[in-house]
């Protein structure tokens, strides 16, 4: 065969396969997982989402979509009423009989890992990319994400040469009241370690602390996340409900950093590197541009 | 026939009833008298099987009472307790109808008996009312009707035990109740009734058992039991005993 014919055949083949792939791509998406919804939007699939769960709060536009409820307590019929072609969620999605009912109705159900590590994120992004027909964009996104995290690591290591890692406590509260402290094996712990901090809490999971323990640990930096309020309101509520916090070093030095609570669930999300940077800025003041 | 020999009941270390030998004869009304705490209710409790005897057995006909079970026993022995607690809004005839539980006599016959029993207890006019809407005295009469219905019409071989059936009743109904009980006995049933009113006991009972401190003081006809000296010893009350001008039975008058 002549070269030009081969090239022509190749082009036709590529076009055809691309066209076929495009018509097979699911167009109506339901997402049960905040981080996943964000990645879908980052990959340009926001317009394909027809329903999301309660943890999908970013980007803002998603809040206007119909809510399918809490990701562990989904309703089969509820989801089916949105006529989706695909349901994506982490392995936390459930209850399991619901997922089989949805599969039986002909909806594609794809499970993604919620592990907060890079290999999991890479495979998730590749998978999402395939499903959205945006494989290139997916690998580019991953590369830049990895780059950002690498930069973050470098910055932290450098900062730790000149400044000690601060003792940090992460408090998760609701309108300021009764905060839980993040211990080991939590996503909050993962975040603060990547940001170069040292978690003063040694328990596992999120547990309430007695006020005395809080004071005796005397953190240098306080990181807080509030599920109900945001911004200055949240900060004010935290100190109003827990006045004893004002006697910590962190409060006195003004080293109280706010964290977005939606980052704590469902694996690594796109906004993470920026949040890590913000935390590191707070942990190692004066190293912001390094 | 319900009978017992040398019955003794203890509560802890205290002997609350002892030396009771008794036969409830068919056609006879036996009245049980005594001051508070004399053991009257204990005796009734033992005779109907609610209290376990420490000594002596209770026999119903040829078997021990404890060997009679279920409907067979219920068809021969009925008990009217001192107080009844029913917190649900049954209709009067439904409550009386529960007395027919041990039988398979059928709806029609049961309704007839319920109506007759209500009339005997002078509560026929309460038919259709809610039990919860009745006064204490009316409720007491309904329960009397119930136990009457349980043994209706009353015959030899059946025993009726009543614990103070007149305690909440007005004078007229005290008499109509005991009259109904009397008629039951006249048809052959054996009746034992605990009473506080000495005059009622004197009028309606064939024999009287006088208890004091758990012991039988006397067991005989009213004329022989109701003597001033004895009554003063047991009740601590000075009385005159005269004869009822029309009926002839003893009439006890406090001095």
């Amino acid at each position: 065969m002549r070269l030009s014919t081969r090239v022509a055949a190749l082009c036709v083949g590529l076009l055809a396969s691309h066209h076929v792939a495009a018509t097979e791509l699911p167009q109506r998406w339901v997402s049960a997982g905040g981080a996943l919804s964000e990645w879908v939007s980052a990959l340009g699939g926001e317009s394909k989402l027809v329903g999301v769960d309660t943890t999908s709060q970013h980007p803002e536009a998603l809040k206007a979509l119909p809510s399918i409820g809490y990701q562990r307590q989904l309703s089969a019929e509820g989801i089916l009423s949105l006529r989706p072609q695909i349901l994506v969620g982490t392995e936390e999605m459930g209850p399991p009989p619901i997922l089989s009912q949805i599969r039986n109705a002909g909806v594609q159900v794809e499970l993604f890992s919620a592990q907060p590590d890079l290999p999991a994120l890479q495979s998730n992004l590749q998978h999402l990319g395939k499903l959205l027909g945006a494989e290139d964009r997916a690998s580019k996104l991953f590369e830049s994400y990895q780059q950002q995290l690498d930069q973050q690591k470098v910055r932290v290591t450098k900062a730790q040469l000149s400044l000690p890692s601060p003792g940090v406590l992460v408090l998760i509260g609701h309108a300021g009241g009764k905060p839980l402290i993040a211990g080991k094996d939590t996503s909050a712990d993962w975040l603060l370690q990547r940001a170069g901090g040292h978690n003063l809490a040694t328990h596992t999971g999120y547990k309430p602390f007695s006020v005395e323990s809080l004071i005796s640990l005397d953190p240098q930096v306080l990181v807080f996340a509030d599920r109900a309020l945001s911004g200055e309101e949240a900060r004010a509520a935290l100190f109003k409900e827990n006045p004893i916090l004002s006697s910590t070093r962190a409060a006195k030095d003004g080293r109280v950093i706010q964290l977005d609570p939606t980052l704590l669930v469902g694996g690594l999300g796109p906004r993470l590197p920026d949040e890590l940077k913000k935390l590191s800025d707070g942990f190692f003041p004066g190293t912001a541009d390094q | 026939m319900l009978r017992t020999q040398n019955l003794q009941i203890r509560r802890g270390r205290k002997t609350v009833l002892t030396d009771i030998t008794l036969e409830l004869k068919p056609g006879e009304v036996l009245g049980v008298l005594g001051p508070n705490g004399a053991g009257k209710s204990t005796l009734l409790g033992a005779l109907c099987g609610e209290l376990k005897a420490d000594h002596g057995n209770i026999w119903l006909d040829e078997h021990e009472l404890s060997h009679w079970i279920g409907a067979l026993r219920a068809q021969r022995l009925a008990v009217l307790p001192q107080v009844s607690t029913l917190d649900f809004a049954f209709r009067v005839e439904e409550v009386v109808g529960m007395g027919r539980l041990p039988y398979q006599s059928g709806r029609v016959r049961d309704d007839e008996i319920v109506a007759a029993a209500l009339n005997a207890a002078d509560a026929g006019h309460l038919h259709g009312r809610s039990y919860l809407a009745l006064s204490g005295g009316e409720r007491q009469r309904i329960h009397l009707a119930r136990v009457l219905a349980q043994l209706w019409p009353g015959e030899a071989g059946q025993t009726l035990l009543l614990d103070e059936p007149t305690s909440m009743l007005d004078p007229l109904h005290q008499h109509t109740t005991l009259q109904a009980v009397r008629e039951f006995a006249d048809r052959g049933a054996a009746v034992m009734v605990i009473l506080h009113d000495l005059n009622l006991a004197a009028r309606y009972c064939d024999r009287l058992l006088l208890l004091e401190g758990g012991r039988p003081v006397a067991l005989d006809t009213p004329e022989r039991v109701l003597r001033p000296d004895r009554l003063q010893a047991v009740f601590g009350l000075e009385v005159l005993v005269q004869q009822h001008p029309e009926r002839g039975h003893p009439l006890i008058i406090a001095r």
Binding site: S67, Y70, S81, P97 | R91, E94, G99, L101, S130
Partner: protein, 345 residues
Amino acid sequence: MTVLVKPRALFIGLSLLCLLAIWLSLALGPVSLPLLDTLRVALRMIGLPIAPDGLEQAELILGQIRLPRTLLGLAVGGVLALSGVAMQGLFRNPLADPGLVGVSSGAALGAAIAIVGGSAFGGLPEAFGPYLLSLCAFLGGLGVTALVYRLGRRNGQTNVATMLLAGIALTALAGSAVGLFTYLADDATLRTLAFWNLGSLNGASYSRLWPLLLISAGVALWLPRRAKALNALLLGESEAGHLGIDVERLKRELVFCTALGVGAAVAAAGMIGFVGLVVPHLVRLLAGPDHRVLLPASVLAGASLLLFADLVARLALAPAELPIGIVTAFIGAPFFLYLLLRGRA
């Protein structure tokens, strides 16, 4: 109080209500199915030869999702109401509720052990998960009730007042144990536990349904046979005994039926409150306390009520779902207060 409704009218009315509830439960839902499709699928299900074209979605929704859910609602509503009647008879008090003998708190404890304990062991194999949860809840309910019953027995007799106190004490104990598990749980299991405590008919499937259906049918067929004996029991235990009833055996049966029935219901659907308390009351208001009417009528009323509550649970926040325990409490509690204020309770 005169009886407002004659038994025959009551049964006809309740049966129609129940049929309406079943129909609405099948016909309505987040997915809107054309009425004709629903009818055709329903007819197909009873065996009539109707062509299946275009009915795949309807058959899936109706057959796999709505029908098992309806059956679950019928069974749970019926058995909870029936147990309420049984307990109100046992304690001779119209304010009694199946939870008094500890079966609900025991089931909650069993579920907490399964949920939190299961995750502590690195999560149960997925196939096992739901069965283990139901089994633990069921055994927990039976276990605590058995203990309460045992504590109430002395000299071969069951003292109902003692049982009541034992039930209160064990409920408190089970509650604090659940609290401990709550403390030990991580975020995810905490949520699962919280939702289980709110009750839901979601995720009903035939394979998990049949034990409950068997037990509910058994209890529903057995208890009405003891209706006359239950009536007499209300007079008092000794009075009932003198009427020829084996009172100890009756009390045993009542406790056993409640433990089995409520245990199975809670195991299948989580904690759903107020049905056992409110439904018998409602029926008594209409038709009086005679158990010959009360028992079967309560089954119909309880089943209907729960199906209507489930409709609200499914549709109020569609496509999300409200836990049904919230709906029954929302309706039940104000109604109960109303009854108290009116002096009928």
